[in-house]
């Protein structure tokens, strides 16, 4: 079963919601995926 860490990080008093999967086979490489913005073009 895949374990995905769900958490919040503070950025200057703003709470940012995130999900992170940390691979056991490669601990030092990661992909950062960025969403579209729902207030931008209705996406």
């Amino acid at each position: 079963m895949v374990e995905i860490e769900k958490f919040f990080i503070n950025n200057n008093d703003i709470k940012l919601e995130a999900e992170f999967f940390h691979s056991h086979s490669d601990r030092i490489s990661a992909v950062l995926v960025l969403h579209p913005h729902p207030q931008f073009l209705g996406v």
Partner: protein, 168 residues
């Protein structure tokens, strides 16, 4: 935390046991704050890069952004040497302005994915924008896809993953 394209890419990496982080920008989902037209969102992206480096001890980070997320994510590519390159899916150059085009210029590897039916990140302007970027670079046109990639998510995720494998 759901978008059809982002979820397909996120799951593609997880299914291949590659560490992957996604987040909601300020004012999206359960993230607090207000939309700040880019300035704060660039800071949000850098916050997570710092988190991966400092808290998770990650030594190589690959960026993949879609639409607004492409403009923001690719624009922080020169923030750290640990960032090794990016994939931009439907980079909305014409809506975001020259600032993001300049910020996303880099000598790191980059791939641009574009649907040939996209009327938001307009396909007609794609080649002109692509030509601005220095090598190394590549592009993939998803035939039949518009800005939302419904039905083409799998193709997009495959291209992102292949490019990641080629540089990591």
């Amino acid at each position: 935390m759901y978008n059809n394209v982002v979820s397909e890419v996120f799951n593609k990496f997880i299914n291949n046991t590659i560490s992957c982080l996604r987040f909601n920008f300020r004012a999206v989902g359960r993230s607090t704050g207000k939309h700040s037209s880019g300035r704060g969102e660039l800071s949000d992206a850098k916050t997570f890069i710092d988190f991966l480096i400092n808290e998770k001890k990650i030594e190589k980070i690959f960026i993949c952004g879609y639409s607004y997320g492409a403009a923001i994510g690719c624009s922080v590519v020169n923030y750290s040497n640990i960032l090794i390159g990016y994939v931009a899916i439907s980079f909305p150059w014409d809506f975001m302005g020259l600032k993001y085009k300049k910020l996303s210029q880099t000598d790191k590897p980059k791939l641009f994915i574009q649907g040939n039916k996209d009327e938001i990140a307009r396909y007609e302007k794609f080649q002109e924008h692509y030509n601005f970027y220095d090598d190394p670079k590549d592009f993939k046109i998803i035939q039949g896809a518009d800005h939302f990639y419904w039905g083409y998510e799998h193709s997009v995720a495959d291209e992102v993953f292949k490019f990641y494998r080629s540089i990591v």
